[in-house]
């Protein structure tokens, strides 16, 4: 009787070690990218930036299938333009309560390298027009903007990598 109790205690201890191990590896991986939760002024810094940088601001969510299908295209584009004034910004439309539960695990699992933040502004009618007046609110949606060069393009549908590259060369060339 005493022996079996001892055995099960050992088993529990073992299990604890294994679990702690998992947690440690998990947190080590999670540190690859932090996902800040931001308000509108943070997004506006990109929208209104006057620096000669082309921002590619993509609105997505972990629950949006066509959005997560096109994310690798933005990742590839960011990689292609590494070292150049081109910045992909992935703006999560997930709810604030899902940041730790869904968004951070998603970003970690897919090892996203582009900048990611969660925009916590539930009154969407108040800011959708500030991104682009033609935006109805459907996602995925993407704004390409370089205010210094007065170049701008808004696309309210999924985008392939070929289209992304085409937009970048035809509409955002450095010698307009």
């Amino acid at each position: 009787m005493k022996n079996s109790a001892f055995m099960s205690l050992r088993r529990i201890l073992c299990l604890c070690f294994v679990m702690v191990g998992f947690l440690l590896t998990g947190s080590a991986v999670a540190q690859t990218q932090k996902v800040p939760m931001v308000k509108l002024p943070h997004l506006q810094k990109y929208l209104n930036s006057t620096s000669d940088t082309t921002y590619i601001i993509n609105f997505w969510a972990t629950w949006c299938k066509p959005c997560i299908e096109e994310l690798p295209n933005f990742e590839a584009l960011q990689k292609q333009y590494a070292g150049q004034p081109v910045q992909v910004v992935l703006v999560s439309m997930d709810f604030a309560k899902d940041l730790e539960k869904k968004v951070v695990p998603f970003v970690t699992r897919h090892k996203l390298q582009s900048r990611v933040f969660l925009l916590d502004e539930p009154d969407q009618n108040a800011w959708i027009d500030l991104v682009d007046p033609s935006w109805s609110g459907a996602i995925p949606a993407t704004l390409f903007v370089n205010n210094a060069r007065k170049q701008r393009l808004f696309v309210e549908k999924p985008i392939t990598l070929a289209q992304l590259q085409d937009y970048m060369t035809s509409k955002f060339s450095k010698t307009p």
Binding site: C64, D123, S136, G137, A138, P140
Partner: protein, 208 residues
């Protein structure tokens, strides 16, 4: 005397042509436009058209679906809207425009199941050809069009979101659809006739 008259006539014809061309390109209705009727299959197999419902003063036409998390978050609120406003003459008309090949869980059978599980008190119609969604200019789910009967016509009185907080019904500040209906029912102008919200893009058929 004759020339300017013809000129005006031509001008108005061109303006009309221009307007309709613009609308086709832009895809959809603006507030104040006349909405066209449709005939779509309800989850019970019955074909529903708006003109058949003679007792209605108007309709809360809502493009929604089985799968979009935002649409699901609004199901209970749609039920409440119907319960509050159907008796006053404005029933909810829910329409699923998603293509089944792109989004298999938006099939007619799944619509029937969803309607039964949630006990929808309103009709839930299947826009299989996506023509109604295209004509209205719906882009996302949920996407609301309030129509008001004006003689034989149906006028678009409101386009947009149901309220200003999809995630949390307890934190809603502005109930856009209710405000619009309360004004329409008392013969007043709708203060905010067009709003926007984040939603799932309508799953269009790949070849369209």
């Amino acid at each position: 005397m004759k020339k300017p008259y013809y000129f005006l006539l031509l001008l108005s014809v061109f303006t009309l042509l221009g307007t309709s061309a613009y609308k086709a390109a832009d895809g959809g209705y603006q507030v104040g436009d006349t909405a066209s009727d449709f005939k779509l299959k309800n989850v019970n197999g019955q074909l529903i058209s708006l003109r058949d419902q003679k007792e209605a003063k108007g309709f809360i036409v809502t493009f929604t679906c089985n799968t979009c998390p935002y649409a699901k978050l609004y199901e209970d609120r749609l039920i409440q809207l119907h319960q509050k406003y159907a008796a006053k003459g404005y029933p909810v008309i829910a329409i699923n425009p998603n293509d089944v090949t792109v989004s298999p869980d938006d099939s007619y059978a799944q619509m029937q199941k969803r309607s039964k599980d949630k006990n929808f008190p309103f009709v839930y119609l299947y826009d299989e050809t996506q023509e109604v969604a295209k004509k209205y200019g719906a882009t996302r789910t949920p996407h609301v069009y309030i129509l008001t009967r004006s003689g034989q016509d149906l006028k678009v009185s409101y386009i947009g979101a149901i309220d200003d907080n999809s995630g949390d019904p307890t934190k809603v500040q502005k109930r856009y659809v209710e405000a619009a209906l309360d004004n329409l029912l008392t013969g007043k102008a709708v203060p905010q006739a067009s709003t926007k919200a984040i939603g799932c893009t309508i799953k269009w058929r790949n070849n369209s």
